[in-house]
């Protein structure tokens, strides 16, 4: 009996050690990943907010049938890129009020992947579904796509490196979650417990509440995040089977990878409208995405995709037509169990299926994840600082480790919201004709973050916490005002107008709410500071060495 107890305590303690260090090592990067990922649930809405030139066209109530919209898009593509190797068309739907089309050109020899990707960014246009004409040219921005890529590719490095770094952080996260559950002695007894104004206790309660009460989400998002890139993290099985020829593997496993080659015989593309009507009859809802491979070739192929929203899978049901004759070739049959399991896990992570309510729940759980990482990082400092309580009381200084963690915490927890806000501000304030404008926006994000992180390293004090939190609050909270001053789609219009502009209103309101939250945090810190100063008037040492930034809550 007694031995069992001893072993149990030992396990708890060692798990506590694992939890602390697995968490601390990667927490600042995880915070970036969590924040960018949470924002990425609304990446289309963010992109739309960041392209105000499109707002006017989106505001018109659109009643165009998707077949007519597809015909408009095909006409535009025939004019611009008749010899493209692929056309991609997104038709107006619930989350996308406009017709967007893009194309890829046949690969030229000697073009690097990066060059191809950059060229692809230029090869697109947006049509107003009401008039069929081009919308005003949107500004050069990557919008929410930047945040989405930041979430797993990072920036200023090759995507492969970014994915490895994020993947390792995610593995640490998984370890931290599991060890955290094991080490949490009173997980059921403290299930609903939150005790404010109790210093370390309160931080621990907040950490537990944000972690335990959304545990299914945290576990799911970390695990499925690893699954999305599993072929990269665990290459051995596919290497053994396919050797260096990984593309064949992808083509075998995901039948959606196109393997047809152009016949190099010209053949006009068949009328696309009947295909869309046929798909709509079969599914009971109109397709939202059209992919044409090798248009105007005898081997042309048209794929229509059903809107997601009925199942978890990220592989949407599709119908394939012969592009030259217009005849139905196939519709996606059942995919293998393994593939559908992966598609469901992948789908869970990216949540394309989510309706507005479910999406909001994912967003809130993502914010809880941010809170979990942030409170965990703060807890380390709060606990470690107690070891220095006596030294600080005698006018000494805290150790290097505590100071470093404090500074990193300020730079990440208070600095990252500033960086996000600056990214959105730069979208509106940078001159429109700037060369490489979308890169300049990203540079603004990182410049702001670097500034915050460096300031925090120079002076990791309570005053710095308040300064950066206040800055973030002002920048985020004033975004609706900035939007009102720089566009015609301010809250007065977007709240009471048609459904097309609702994403803009949503963006404005959510940033306002987040700004208020940061402002509240700054105000709360200031009040705490005053109270502590009043409570210890006889301790001049405390004034000379500003007390721990977030110690006694």
């Amino acid at each position: 009996m007694k031995e069992g107890v001893v072993v149990k305590e030992g396990l708890r303690q060692s798990m506590s050690w694992v939890h602390t260090w697995a968490g601390l090592l990667v927490c600042w990067l995880l915070l970036l990943v969590f924040m960018a990922g949470t924002a990425a649930y609304y990446r289309h809405e963010i992109t739309f907010w960041m392209k105000p030139e499109l707002h006017k066209a989106a505001d018109a109530p659109s009643k165009i049938a998707s077949a007519d919209a597809a015909v408009l898009a095909v006409r535009g593509l025939q004019q611009r890129a008749p010899a493209a190797s692929g056309w991609f068309i997104d038709l107006p739907s619930e989350r996308n009020p406009l017709i967007t089309a893009s194309w890829t050109n046949p690969p030229k020899k000697g073009m690097s992947r990066e060059e191809r990707r950059n060229a692809f960014r230029q090869q697109n246009f947006v049509l107003d579904p009401m008039t069929g004409l081009d919308t005003a040219a949107p500004r050069d921005t990557r919008g929410g796509e930047f945040l989405y890529r930041l979430h797993f590719d990072l920036y200023y490095m090759s995507a492969i490196w970014g994915r490895w770094i994020v993947g390792i952080a995610a593995m640490f996260m998984l370890v931290a979650i599991v060890s955290g559950v094991i080490t949490h002695k009173r997980i059921f007894k403290d299930f609903f417990t939150f005790r404010p104004r109790k210093g370390q206790r309160s931080w621990l309660d907040a950490h537990n509440a944000s972690a335990v009460l959304a545990l299914p989400f945290h576990l799911m998002i970390t695990y499925t995040g690893l699954v999305t890139l599993m072929f990269m993290y665990m290459p051995s099985p596919t290497k053994a089977l396919y050797g260096e020829d990984q593309n064949t593997m992808f083509a075998d496993v995901f039948m959606n990878v196109d393997r047809t080659r152009p016949a190099r015989v010209a053949a006009p593309l068949a009328d696309i409208a009947p295909m869309l009507q046929q798909a709509e009859r079969a599914w009971g809802e109109a397709p939202t995405r059209v992919v044409v491979s090798h248009p105007n070739d005898a081997n042309a192929k048209v794929e229509l995709f059903r809107p997601s929203g009925r199942q978890l899978s990220n592989i949407e049901p599709s119908m394939t037509f012969n592009g030259a004759s217009g005849a139905l070739v196939s519709s996606t049959g059942p995919i293998s169990t393994t593939l559908s399991a992966r598609a469901a896990l992948y789908g869970l992570h990216v949540a394309h299926f989510a309706d507005p309510l479910l999406r909001a729940l994912f967003f809130i759980c993502g914010l809880a994840g941010c809170a979990m990482v942030a409170t965990g990082a703060l807890l380390w400092g709060v606990k470690e600082r107690q070891k220095y309580a006596k030294i600080v009381a005698q006018g000494g200084k805290v150790g290097f480790g505590v100071r470093l963690v404090d500074a990193l915490n300020i730079g990440a927890i208070a600095g990252l919201p500033v960086a996000f806000a600056v990214y959105f501000w730069s979208n509106r304030l940078l001159p429109l004709e700037l060369v490489e404008r979308s890169n300049a926006e990203a540079n603004c994000f990182f410049a702001a973050w670097a500034g915050c992180a460096i300031l925090a390293q120079i002076r990791p004090t309570r005053g710095m916490w308040r300064f950066q939190l206040t800055l973030g609050a002002l920048l985020l909270g004033a975004l609706p005002l900035l939007n009102a001053l720089t566009t015609h789609s301010h809250l007065g219009v977007t709240l009471f107008g048609g459904p097309g502009l609702r994403p803009v209103a949503g963006f404005d309101l959510v940033t306002l709410a987040l700004g208020l939250l940061l402002g509240w945090a700054a105000w709360w810190l200031g009040r705490k500071g005053k109270k502590q100063a009043l409570a210890k008037p006889a301790a001049p040492a405390a004034a000379a060495n500003p007390p721990a930034p977030l110690e006694a809550a």
Binding site: R195, P216, L348, F353, C365
Partner: protein, 116 residues
């Protein structure tokens, strides 16, 4: 559909509330320091709590199907649990009152599932 989700949220809230109010710390917060629920009450409330959580699961499945329903339920559980946590701290007596919302919610969910 939305009414079904709403009743799912209400049921999850009631379920957690029922389990929360008989936990030692929260029971003492509500009824005074040192008071403890007797074991029959505790058992009954716990059973009611699990029942309400189960009904909330059924409501979510009814609203969104077997694919998305469980995902929805997880989100609903988190929201309900955070609400109960905050209420137990800042207005513990309101939890006793609020827990009753599960009864009309259960009737509504049953009605919608059986007759609609």
């Amino acid at each position: 559909m939305n009414m079904l989700i709403l009743s799912g949220v209400a049921l999850a809230f009631s379920g957690f509330a029922a389990k929360g109010v008989v936990m030692d710390r929260h029971y003492a917060d509500i009824h005074g320091r040192g008071k403890e629920p007797d074991s029959a009450v505790r058992l009954r409330m716990r059973l009611i709590g699990w029942l309400a959580l189960g009904l909330s699961f059924i409501a979510c499945i009814g609203a969104s199907g077997w694919h998305l329903g469980p995902v929805l339920w997880c989100g609903v559980l988190s929201i309900a649990a955070w609400s109960v946590t905050l209420l137990l701290q800042y207005a513990p007596r309101k939890v006793l009152l609020g827990a009753w919302i599960g009864v009309p919610a259960a009737l509504l969910a049953a009605g919608l599932l059986l007759f609609a």
